[in-house]
Amino acid sequence: DARVTQTPRHKVTEMGQEVTMRCQPILGHNTVFWYRQTMMQGLELLAYFRNRAPLDDSGMPKDRFSAEMPDATLATLKIQPSEPRDSAVYFCASGLDRARGSGNTIYFGEGSWLTVV
């Protein structure tokens, strides 16, 4: 059963610490998304990769957030330094985009639940 795998599932950290979240997309998928979900803002797109290249990170606070895909099986989202307002659920999703604009489905991981105190 193919699925997107995210680690850690839960993280509590102190303000100022670095947080790294990892995502293993579904094997063969060529698009990866990082979303943040909060009660106030709902679902926000932070970053989008296609064939490992970052295509859109306009939703990501650049001063403290960074997203990378070191290889096709790993995507990372880092926050340094973390702040209490970063407390949220961070979702990774992946999809197979055969052609830009196609109606491909994206599949979500179970999320990384981050609390910054």
């Binding site: 979702f91 994206i106 639940w113």
Partner: protein, 113 residues
């Protein structure tokens, strides 16, 4: 601007009754429309999508959705609700320029026994 609206924050339905969760959209060109469900403390799960073809789309867990071009709507439906259908439901449409998904705010569905 391209957008999706879920006009109801919450929908309450008695078990066994039909349910409808509403979604309207605004995009230029042909829309690609999606429904996802999120159970408590879980990720979003894909339910169904409309790309082209038959306006009535069937999906997982007995859900279906009807695409209505004239009303720019894509309402999610189920003939007989189960308590286990209680969850948060998201409608999304693919942006026709940058191909990103535009998400609705979500509708909390509560099915009462």
């Amino acid at each position: 601007a391209q957008s999706v609206a879920q006009p109801e924050d919450q929908v309450n339905v008695a078990e066994g009754n039909p349910l409808t969760v509403k979604c309207t959209y605004s995009v230029s060109g042909n829309p690609y429309l999606f429904w996802y469900v999120q159970y408590p403390n879980r990720g979003l799960q894909f339910l169904l999508k409309y790309i082209t073809g038959d306006n009535l789309v069937k999906g997982s867990y007995g859900f279906e959705a009807e695409f209505n071009k004239s009303q720019t709507s894509f309402h999610l439906k189920k003939p007989s609700a189960l308590v286990s259908d209680s969850a948060l439901y998201f409608c999304a449409v693919r942006h026709t320029s940058n191909y990103q998904l535009i998400w609705g705010a979500g509708t909390k569905l509560i099915i009462k026994p």
